[in-house]
Amino acid sequence: MSHLYENIEPNTIDDELVQKVLEEERTEDMKKIVRREGFNLKDLKELQLSFRNILQIANLWQFENLTKLQLDNNIIEKIEGLESLVHLVWLDLSFNNIEVIEGLGTLVKLQDLSLYSNRISKIENLDTLQELQIFSIGKNNLTTLEDVVYFRRFKHLRTLNLAGNPLCDDKRYMLYVVAHVPKLVYLDFKLVRDSTREEAVLQYQYHIEPLEQEEAEALAQLEDKQAKQKELECHKTAFVEYLNGSFLFDSMFAEDTEAAKLACLPGVDDLLQAYREEFVSVCESLFNYGLKEHENREAEVSHFYECLNEVLTANQQEGRKRILEFEKQSKKRLEEIHNASSYDIAELKRARYREDILQLSEALMGLEILITNQLEEILEEFKRNIAAVASTFTENVKGMMNQCRDLENHHHEKLLEISITTLEKSLKNELDMDLPAAVQTLLVDKNTIVNAVNASHGTRLQSIDKRESDLLSNIDQWQNSVTEKAFQNEIDRNRNRVKEIILFIENLQEELDSIKIPEPTE
């Protein structure tokens, strides 16, 4: 298409262009400031690059905080290079030569998007723009009226402009759009009347209903999934995920090939059934206990932070009080120094003020030391409490896991018994049923069958051990992280406070030093 641009020089966005644009907007004062200080592109919120013959969008990645970008009336052919401008709320790409909607997926904050007068023939790649309120895609090449159903997904879309597309020639156009995008307030810059809406609903009732039903179902499914996910997350934070039910039990047998064979032995079925029931019930109680303990832990932690905040707030207020007292008269005193009748008086007053600043500094630091000592005690206590909670939990979990192991051992003994009797019967040919070939191979001698049973037992025990150690290491990790975080917070707080005090005092001193006092008399 280069023949289109015969008379004009196509541009690419580069620093030079941007600088030129910015320069044009600035007043004299600002130019001077920029000359002195330089200019941070991150500070820019709005940028207008209209009528610049831009062919290619580039070099915009540095304007991270841009909220409004105008690129209208250029010769852009492809939407690109906008991925990093995630704060954009307003984007104008009208009067360009764009053919495909693309490259806008990351601009999730976009509320107002204009693609007016381009060459677009399909509405696509806009799924993530859920905040969209105003969308203009008039004077393009949209032909299929049915495509407007796409706009249903924008829950906040109120203004839509489609005028000037081939699809508008369809005599159904108006009612079809209104019916399928029910929340529209303005279509083609005209208010959608209630009467039109009613008519549209009446006419396309049978088109809309299945759509609505589908959407409702999808939504319900999504919600269901989210709820489940949330529940699982909750279980995970309690470290007892998948313990409500037979998941652990099933996983124990899933990894065990021998067990499947042994299950065919007569009587094992009933045995397994009983085993499963008991095992699951122990898991359930472990699960419930875990949830309960989780609540306990949360309560313990929130209680700690409550106490901490209380102490900190009191301290903060005390410090604030001292500072306000000081500030109340600081202005007057500075003026007095400034207006002192002679150098000596000024000097005297200045010295006194300086002393007071030091006193304030000491008072504030004293307060900080006081609170640090106080918090140290609270933190130690917290650490002890957390350790106690964790160790109780560990003990009880171990106890319950041992119950599981006992059940497993019991099951193992029973299974062994059955295996041996079956083997004996088999050797005597007294077995009154046919067994699968795989099982038959086990019923050769005592060693084989005992090995098989033992191996199966071993894998299952391993499964139990693994779940136990996972759980215990999780609780351990929690204990460490919670304690560490509390200590780290305190260290950070202390540092920040000390820094704040030092800076504040420095500031006061600077303020004092900057006061002009009468010249010393000769």
Binding site: E28, D29, M30, K32, I33, V34, R36, E37, F39, N40, D43, L312, Q316, G319, R320, I323, L364, R493, N496, R497, K499, E500, I501, L503, F504, N507, E511, S514
Partner: protein, 782 residues
């Protein structure tokens, strides 16, 4: 401890007195000892001529009732010889004995205010003027009907109670009149020991009851409202003098002899030694309450020992079958005018402890004053401390005014809807620059202004619910004239403006301004930001503006020296110069805007003062559209409508009224007649009437003659053709003959009556003409 002992002692004396009450042997002694100061006021005389006959006579049923009552009284005296007499059938205003229950006339009045007990009680206490009993320790000799009480607007405690009870029963309450005993202050409507209800904030102090010789003997009547009906949760008393509610355990009520309503009469059989606090108010309990007209189902419940009260079966039969006759009193009526006037002659004064309360009917005072409470420093009502006034129906919707006599400050309160949403205004004078505090209905104002305090040198404004989180603006003014800056000469120069903001949760704390001070004279702007979480120092920025002229000449007026920044807990000296430049630009624009705001506020104060001055200079009262009495325009419309309706419906009557008109017109008369005209009109009228009567008689005569003639003709015809006629024709003839005969008979009768009546009618008309308003003047003596 002392107080407690005193109290006990008091109670003892109460008991003693009550003991003496129960044992009425002492009564005569006490009665002789009644101090002379207890003035015995005779009841006011009543004009009985206009009262209906039920007031003046007793129906047979009423007579029977009185007989039963006498019998009941005999039994009672026989059984309880020591008790005081019962109040059963005092005489009414016409001197006729009436049973007390029939004096109660349940009536529901057509005012919403009178639907609830408190409305009724306060109306009765306001409307009637209290008269003391003729003798404070004996029952009154008479009991007037509630209609008479209303008419004269005065009465004793019994009259008050009967009226209130009638209204309450009418409104559906289970109310009773009570005959009993109470303390001096209650009986004499002495509220000077009480706190004014309008001032009742602290718990009431237990005033020390003075020793009083007649304690426990003072007769009082009040109203008892039982729980149950009208969703009354708890039984209570109403003192009709004050309209106040009292618990049944109130120590000021010392005993009950009997209670009655419009259906029955109950005598209290319970011990009142300890006042009313232990009384059981279950009137069906025959051990506690002796009923006079027992209802059949209750009779069986009577315990054995009580039954000996009624020694003969006949009495019991009578009591069982007898129903209370309906009240002899006509329904109670209160006209809208009376209801509006509310107080005797439209005003009422009550003395409370260190306070005086005056009330007026609405529209009585030209300035709309309806209530004034004066609070005094001491108990002698001389040294006023505070005056509170309440207004109604004022066009400037002033509802209350408080004047503090010590500070000389006046506070006016307005309802919603005053100009510029004014709510309250505190001032010394309605002049500008004298110090004003104005409160506003902030929710109705666009700027959310809640309060503005203005003095000569300062102005503080308080705001609520603003989008920019501003809640306070304080302005310091300089002295007029000493100003160097460009402001017009009339207004005071602004020295400093301080604005305070609430935290805006959408901004980070150290970008959210908490306080902004424009030091106009110094050309400084101070910004203080909100505290960051856990921080003790707030970030600050201090700008020093250079004169605007500099910027016009394109000089750099922004430099690091012009701005001092303190960023709490950060080594960075804040944002870039670029930012500061923008901020300063913003603030400069804002300063200009805020100055304008302040000037507008000043102008607003002046406007309000002007409006208030004109309003106060010319107070107007408004009339609600529903008030027919007051709303002249409405009333005119209404009357016009009514008269047209009358015209249409009562056309006939109108004609009747104008029966003289043709004669008057014939004589060429207008409004006033002279004697000759009157006489001529009368004569004309009489002659005309005579003609009319003769015409009627002649007409009937003619009809009669014609009918007789016809009958004779037919008779002849029948005689001639008798033999040729069929049986049917014969029958027809006979039936037509009898019909004609009947007709003739009727005509004869009418003729005779007309002839008889004619002279009488003539005389009646003559009399009527003499009475006629048009002619009476001239014919009256004839």
């Amino acid at each position: 401890m002392d107080a407690l002992e005193e109290k006990e002692e008091d109670e003892q004396t109460v008991e003693e007195k009550l003991g003496s009450l129960a044992v009425s042997d002492d009564l005569q002694d006490v009665e002789t000892k009644v101090p002379v100061e207890q003035d015995c006021v005779p009841k006011h005389s009543v004009d009985v001529s206009q009262l209906p006959s039920s007031y003046k006579t007793n129906s047979p049923k009423e007579k029977q009732l009185l007989h039963i009552a006498d019998h009941f009284l005999q039994q009672y005296i026989h059984l309880c010889p020591n008790r005081k007499p019962l109040f059963l059938h005092p005489v009414n205003e016409c001197g006729v004995e009436k049973f007390v229950s029939t004096t109660v006339r349940p009536t529901l009045l057509p005012y919403t205010e009178l639907y609830d007990w408190d409305g009724c009680a306060s109306f009765v206490s306001d409307y009637l003027v209290m008269e003391p009993l003729e003798c404070p320790i004996t029952l009154p000799s008479s009991l007037y009907s509630p209609t008479t009480t209303l008419k004269h607007q005065r009465g004793n405690c019994f009259d008050f109670s009967v009226l209130l009870c009638s209204m309450l029963i009418g409104a559906g309450y289970d109310a009773y009149c009570v005959q009993g005993y109470a303390i001096l202050e209650i009986c004499t409507l002495d509220e000077t020991q009480e706190l004014c209800p309008l001032l009742r904030k602290p718990p009431e102090e237990a005033g020390k009851p003075k020793h009083e010789p007649l304690h426990g003997l003072r007769v009082h009547a009040w109203v008892l409202v039982l729980s149950g009906k009208r969703q009354v949760p708890e039984t209570f008393f109403i003192n009709p003098f004050t309209g106040n509610r009292h618990n049944t355990t109130d120590k000021r009520f010392l005993g009950i002899e009997s209670v009655w309503n419009h259906r029955n009469y109950w005598v209290n059989m319970q011990d009142c030694r300890h006042g009313c606090k232990d009384l059981i108010f279950d009137l069906r309990d025959a051990t506690c309450w002796e009923i006079m007209l027992s209802e059949s189902n209750h009779l069986q419940l009577l315990p054995k020992e009580k039954e000996e009260l009624f020694d003969s079966d006949t009495v019991r039969e009578k009591r069982m079958s007898f129903d209370m006759p309906p009240s002899w009193v006509v329904p109670i009526r209160i006209s809208p005018r009376q209801f509006e006037m509310r107080y005797y002659q439209g005003k009422k004064t009550t003395l409370y402890s260190k306070a005086k309360l005056k009330k007026w009917a609405p529209y009585l005072n030209g300035n709309g004053l309806v209530q004034r409470l004066t609070i005094y420093a001491g108990p002698d009502y001389t040294d006023a401390v505070e005056v509170r006034e309440w207004f109604e129906n004022r066009e400037d919707i002033l509802v209350r005014r408080e004047v503090n006599k010590q500070t000389q400050l006046t506070t006016d309160y307005f309802s919603k809807g005053h100009s510029l949403c004014l709510k309250a205004h505190t001032y010394k004078l309605l002049e500008p620059k004298t110090g004003h505090t104005m409160e506003f209905y902030s929710e109705a104002r666009v700027d959310g202004l809640q309060k503005r305090v203005e003095t000569a040198t300062e102005m503080t404004e308080y705001f609520m619910g603003r989008d920019d989180f501003l809640y306070l603006r304080h302005v310091d003014f300089g002295k007029q004239g000493e100003e160097t800056q460009r402001t017009d000469m009339n207004s005071k120069p602004i020295m400093q403006i301080k604005e305070c903001f609430h935290r805006n949760p959408e901004k980070p704390a150290d970008e959210d301004v908490a306080e902004c001070i424009f030091l106009i004279t110094e050309e400084d702007i101070h910004l203080t930001y909100h505290l960051k979480d856990k921080y003790i120092t707030a970030s600050k920025k201090l700008f020093h503006k250079l004169p605007e002229r500099a910027s016009e000449e394109h000089e750099v007026f922004m430099s690091l020296e012009a701005c001092t920044t303190y960023q709490a807990g950060s080594f960075e000296k804040g944002k870039s110069l670029f930012h500061l430049y923008n901020l300063l630009k913003e603030l400069t624009a804002k300063e200009k805007w805020v100055k304008e705001e302040v000037r507008q506020s000043e102008a607003e104060v002046l406007t309000i003062l002007k409006i208030r001055q004109t309003e106060e200079a010319n107070i107007k009262l408004s009339v609600p559209i529903y008030n027919r009495e007051r709303n002249k325009e409405r009333r005119r419309q209404q009357e016009a409508m009514e008269s047209t309706v009358k015209d249409e419906l009562l056309g006939q009557k109108k004609q009747d009224l104008h029966y003289l008109a043709p004669f008057l017109i014939r004589n060429g008369c207008t409004d006033k007649l002279n004697k000759v005209q009157a006489l001529r009109a009368r004569d004309d009228c009489l002659t005309d009437f005579k003609h009319h009567l003769t015409y009627r008689i002649n007409l009937i005569q003619a009809h009669l003659e014609k009918a007789v003639e016809e009958l004779q003709k037919r008779h002849l015809w029948f005689q001639e053709n008798k033999n040729q006629l069929s049986t049917k024709e014969k029958d027809d003839y006979l039936s037509s003959c009898s019909e004609s005969m009947f007709h003739i008979n009727v005509l004869e009768q009418r003729l005779n009556r007309e002839k008889q009546m004619a002279p009488q009618k003539y005389l009646a008309l003559k009399d009527k003409l003499c009475m006629d308003p048009h002619l009476a003047e001239h014919l009256g003596y004839i």
